[in-house]
């Protein structure tokens, strides 16, 4: 029997329309699970804690899942305990999920709490699972700007997925509609701490102005005469080629893309 990987999915939120959608990282978790299954390394199951009627679940199922389990939950209930019970009941040895949910508190705590309560190690921001041999996985973590770090870890573990992980496959309408959505009733506990918090639509966060605290007259002059940012760029036309190239080079140095 292949070891089991469990992908946990949530309801995402489209950044422009605010509508429900397949969450980007959760979709990647399912994708990674499907790939592990296709490579015959693990067997995938997918679960969601929340409302079983959301049409977004059909979008996840449309990636090619015959079944998706829903731990029935209300919006502001604590999902941790039911999830732990579920992971244990499934005898999963890997849990994949997004770094942060796109709706709700988005604290990113869930994977850490899950790992802690299960006593498993947690891998943050995974880009790829290279191999699993004799219960040890070689995992690539995503670092900013396309950099990668190789980490080796024994199963079982919890991993969160970075956006650098393989993009989720297209969801197909037909299989999504036909998939079996299995509802599991759970005993739920209200999240009383969060109930104290106030949720409001996000206030715009002012972009910080560069406050120039000039210490010398020269600095003040510079600050006063500097071109405002974003008001069209500098064009070099009549300089020599040498000067032009040097200007570009200095720009690249200043932007720290040349090291």
């Amino acid at each position: 029997m292949l070891p089991k990987v469990l992908a946990l999915v949530s309801i995402g939120r489209h950044p422009q329309s605010g509508r429900e959608r397949r969450a980007e990282q959760d979709g990647r978790a399912v994708e990674m699970g499907l790939c592990l299954q296709e490579r015959q390394l693990m067997h995938l199951s997918v679960a969601h804690a929340g409302n079983a009627d959301s049409s977004v679940l059909r979008q996840y199922a449309g990636m090619g899942l015959s079944k998706l389990s829903v731990l029935a939950q209300q919006a502001n209930e604590d999902v941790l305990s039911p999830l732990i019970d579920y992971v244990e009941a499934q005898q999963a040895s890997m849990v994949l999920m997004g770094v942060r949910s796109e709706m709700g508190q988005s604290s990113g705590m869930l994977p850490y709490l899950l790992a802690e309560r299960l006593g498993w190690p947690l891998l943050p921001r995974v880009a790829e699972i290279q191999s699993i041999e004799e219960g040890v996985a070689q995992v690539l973590l995503a670092l900013p700007r396309g950099q990668r770090r190789l980490v080796s870890v024994a199963l079982p573990f919890v991993a969160t997925l970075d956006n650098a992980a393989k993009a989720p496959r297209q969801t197909a309408f037909g299989p999504g509609q036909r998939a079996d959505i299995e509802v599991i009733n759970t005993t739920s506990i209200a999240d009383e701490v969060a109930a104290q918090w106030q949720f409001t639509p996000a206030k715009p966060r002012p972009k910080r102005m560069k406050v120039v605290k000039a210490k010398t007259a020269a600095d003040r002059f510079k600050a006063a005469t500097a071109k405002p940012v974003g008001g069209g760029g500098k064009v070099l036309k009549n300089e020599t080629v040498e000067e032009k190239a040097q200007a570009i080079f200095d720009f690249l140095l200043e932007e720290k893309v040349i090291r």
């Binding site: 489209h14 422009q16 329309s17 959608r21 496959r169 297209q170 197909a172 309408f173």
Partner: protein
């Protein structure tokens, strides 16, 4: 004597074999899905459809049309008479003479067929088709000779006595076997003459009978949602009359010659596609195919059967995704075969069942689902372009004479110039107009052409529900794709009748009416030479070729027509989601179209579609300028009229 029974029994045998073949063929078609057809009406209408509609298309090639009348007409007549004279042995000189005349006519036609085949253009299939003129000639000559006695030209007794003549009659019998074999046996067992049998029935049982008698039927048929499978996966998933339609193909390659994707070296050839469908419905391989291949795809490796998945061995998915749904092939097909329907049916399977829409397809569909526009813009920013336009919004006014359907061009800076130009014209003519504002959604065109009928239907229903809330008598749009959806495809979902009494118009038609009514006045255009590009979804899909030209002539422009214009206009490459699936070819369709433009020497190409504008402007400079007609009109608007009408209105 041999002679007495040999020929009739040959004819009889071949007729029986043909009948068996016909039954077998009918069974292939019956493997398809049920589709309601008015059989009797169709059969009764068939001769007229053949003579009128089919010939209307064939007529575009005068040579071929005359040839076909002579050969085909001659053959049908001759065959009936052969059965009467030679099989039932009806002794009538008149019949015999008629038969001779029919054969003579057929002979003349066949000579021209023969001539055409001496140096055939590349679009024609070779193989058995090269044999056909010879078979036709043989048929005509053999039966001519055989009929001479019956016509009293040769004495009948001669044939009884002479041993030499016995030999001759044996030879004649062989020729009868060969030629009649081609004509009868071949007709139902898959030879070139199959087109006559299947073609006749296809005309009778066509899936779009509205197309006959000068009508137009271009809207896609809705997919049934919610079943065990969606779209066409296997040949047997087509409707039975679609299968029949494939069998009607004469491999004339007119579709191939018109197909922009084929010309661009993308892996699509509509003729080969139809032939592959024939392979699929009958089972087998494409080894015997003797026409142009899909560009850069070798022939002979494809195989399929009615129960096998088409994209797993018969046709590659790239072939299906190369199509721009420009309908040039359908417009040109003398057998009135519906290529686009078939292609979209198969795409539906790939998208709805396999989740396999190439390149940006998946992303675009996801965006449409989550934001109601293909680029994923915030739905609340749909009306930003009109912030300074002072346009009435339906939500506030509830009714207006004209509803301006803005389309997704609202999000695109280039298209916004067209929108603004059109609004300027509307205002100048003092039209009582409103827009839906943020309540408008993508028309669903792209989703539907990409095979996602679920999303299309959802959009259509939601748009219709919005439209149903308001009163307007005319809906006008600058986007031919939205125009087509609203005019031809929404009706299937419009239970509430939101568009029932509404006239849906393209902006060129609408503007032309304003000009005709004197509501708008424009200056003479003073630039250089101008040509006009017919957008597929305006021209072939909706038959509007005249209004844009009338508008241009109102500006004093004499359009320097491109060789391919009007119903033969070459696609810009922007339809059917083709820029999204972006299947690589050897060249870009838009580049070829720009070459067509440049060949006229025009400095400006007028279009009537934001998508065409984007595609043609995507061609690298130097190239002629690209303008929507609304833009050209707005630039030449005579303004003082405005104050006039505003006063009048106030």
């Amino acid at each position: 004597m041999i002679f007495d029974w040999l020929i009739p029994s040959l004819i009889a045998t071949l007729l029986v074999l043909a009948a068996i073949g016909a039954l077998r063929r009918v069974n292939f078609w019956r493997a398809g899905q049920a589709e309601k057809v008015d059989m009797w009406a169709g059969l009764l209408a068939m001769p007229k459809r053949y003579l009128h509609d089919l010939h209307h298309v064939v007529e575009r090639d005068k040579y071929m049309s005359r040839t076909h009348v002579a050969t085909g007409g001659g053959f049908v007549l001759a065959m009936v008479l052969v059965i009467l004279v030679h099989l039932f042995d009806i002794q009538s000189r008149i019949l015999a003479w008629m038969l001779l005349a029919a054969l003579g006519m057929m002979f003349c036609g066949a000579l021209f067929v023969f001539k055409r085949r001496l140096n055939p253009p590349s679009r024609l299939s070779k193989g058995p088709w090269m044999r056909l003129p010879k078979s036709l000639l043989t048929f005509a000559i053999t039966f001519f000779v055989l009929t001479l006695p019956a016509a009293g030209i040769l004495p009948e007794s001669l044939s009884l006595s002479n041993i030499g003549l016995t030999l001759v009659s044996l030879v004649l019998a062989l020729l009868v076997l060969l030629s009649l074999g081609e004509m009868l046996f071949g007709m139902t067992w898959g030879g070139p003459m199959k087109h006559a049998f299947a073609g006749a029935l296809h005309l009778a049982f066509h899936r779009r009978p509205e197309r006959f008698g000068g009508g137009r039927s271009t809207g896609l048929k809705p997919a049934n949602l919610g079943g065990e499978s969606h779209g066409v996966a296997k040949p047997e998933d087509f409707k039975w009359n679609q299968l029949l339609g494939f069998d009607a193909c004469v491999q004339c390659g007119r579709c191939e010659a018109m197909c922009p994707a084929f010309a661009a070296g993308q892996p699509l050839n509509p003729k080969k596609l139809i032939q592959d469908m024939v392979v699929g419905l009958a089972g087998g391989t494409d080894e015997k195919y003797a026409g142009s291949p899909y560009p850069n795809v070798p022939v002979g490796k494809a195989s399929g059967s009615p129960q096998e998945i088409i994209t797993e061995g018969l046709v590659s998915a790239d072939t299906l995704w190369s199509c721009t749904t420009c309908r040039a092939c359908v417009e040109e097909c003398p057998m009135m075969i519906e290529h686009v329907d078939a292609i979209v049916d198969m795409r539906r399977f790939l998208t709805l069942e396999k989740g396999d829409t190439p390149n940006k397809g998946a992303e675009v569909l996801e965006n449409i689902i989550a934001t109601d526009n293909p680029n994923g813009y915030a739905p609340g920013s749909r009306t930003h372009w009109a912030a300074d336009q002072n346009l009435a919004v339906m939500k506030d006014v509830k009714k207006a004479e004209v509803l301006f359907w803005v389309s997704d061009g609202a999000f695109d800076m280039r298209s916004q110039r067209i929108l603004r130009a059109f609004v300027k014209l509307l205002k100048a003519a003092n039209v009582n107009v409103a827009i839906l504002g943020d309540e408008e959604r993508d028309s669903g065109d792209v989703a539907r052409r990409l095979g996602d009928d679920a999303t299309f239907q959802s959009l259509a229903k939601r748009n219709l529900a919005t439209l149903a809330q308001y009163k307007f008598s005319t809906l006008v749009t600058t986007d031919p794709h939205a125009f087509h959806c609203l005019k031809n495809e929404y009706a299937d979902f419009d239970q509430a009748g939101a568009l029932k009494d509404v006239e849906v118009l393209h902006h060129t038609t609408f503007l032309n009416r304003l000009i005709e009514q004197g509501m708008l006045q424009v200056d003479r255009f003073k630039g250089g030479k101008v040509t006009y590009h017919d957008p597929c979804y305006l021209g072939r899909y909706n038959g509007e070729y005249d209004s844009p030209r009338a508008l241009l002539s109102s500006l004093g422009i004499e359009v320097a027509e491109m060789e391919r214009s009007g119903y033969r206009s070459r696609c810009c490459g922007g339809g059917g989601g083709a820029p999204i699936t972006d299947i690589p070819g050897e060249r870009r369709i838009a580049d070829m179209r720009m070459e067509d433009v440049a060949a006229t020497g025009a400095e400006l190409v007028a279009v009537g579609c934001q998508q065409c504008t984007a595609m043609l402007e995507g061609v690298v400079e130097p190239r002629p300028q690209v303008r929507d007609i609304a833009e050209i009109m707005a630039e030449h608007l005579v303004e003082q009229l405005v104050e006039h009408t505003v006063e009048g209105a106030a």
